[in-house]
Symmetry: C2
Subunit: 204 residues, 2 copies
Amino acid sequence: MPPPSRRSGRPRDPDVDRRALAAAREVYGERGWSGLSLEEVARRSSIGKGSLYLRWPTRAALLVAAVRDRARFVADIDTGSLREDLVTFAELWTAFATSDDGRLVERLLVDSHRVPEIAGALADDAYPEHVRGARTMVRRGIERGELPAGTSVALVADLVAGAVRNHVATTPAHLAARDDARGYAAAVVDTVLAGVRARAQPSP
Amino acid sequence: MPPPSRRSGRPRDPDVDRRALAAAREVYGERGWSGLSLEEVARRSSIGKGSLYLRWPTRAALLVAAVRDRARFVADIDTGSLREDLVTFAELWTAFATSDDGRLVERLLVDSHRVPEIAGALADDAYPEHVRGARTMVRRGIERGELPAGTSVALVADLVAGAVRNHVATTPAHLAARDDARGYAAAVVDTVLAGVRARAQPSP
């Protein structure tokens, strides 16, 4: 009998994937890259090391999958309006980024700049979910005519995702609790959209 | 003879400070927070542990001083024009953030969310140099009348510093070499300033 690998055509058990990814996040959060052993992930998830290897060929591939798994919700934001998409994204990302799982996104980014294996695992797929998600929203908005055709997708996504990331990273904990995430998200998005539109107009 | 502490009134030797901070960055870059020992910093800088303790009462205080020391150049940007200040800041920060010392700024931020001692050392002084620096520039611009009086200083600084931070974090290495940092910096700043000004105007 062939092993239940991705190539065998046998369906993967999503519950096994979920448990493995949750255990990998837990171990990485507690012990960092140097403490992320497959033995420990196998132990906490009650999944054999062989099964882990069949799914993720390296420790770094498992880590990248585990961190991204929780950020994937961004891809589902599709309200039909660019402003609403971006405000929803900015608001939800603010909440996610301050959670334990959200903190791992920044940690993975930092580790990718010093650990070649992680950089390698990211190489085919270099953009984190929030960057990719924000870019998709902007692209759809341009297609719908909500922004001028020549708008730089990367610039708009960097401005919105970057402002949120900066806001989260530098708001002291005692202020974060009182934070008006929706109001802040709206101010960011409205400023960026107004700026892009103003620059596209001929000067008076 | 009293020890050459800050309180003794005897001037500190800036060369000793520089050597200690450089050694602390080196050890932190190589070994992370868990490997940052005062013994190792003392050994590499040829400065006694006692002298280190007189200057920085804790390991976390030394680390925060070491990382911030190299980011301090931002505070010196003051061209007399808000646009020029912000473009210069965005361009220089792009270069700094991809350097070995610049990477430590992000690493310290990530570690501050999981290591209480680091969070404690940052508490009195929670804003990284680039956030503080960008805010100072925006504040001066408002005083000079370059932006409307009610402009949110934090919002403008988050947009500019955040876009740059995001751009640097997510540009793959092979593209970063070809990056037009000045052009990107100008596009970010011009979009943000146009957005703030457009939102301050009454709608036509």
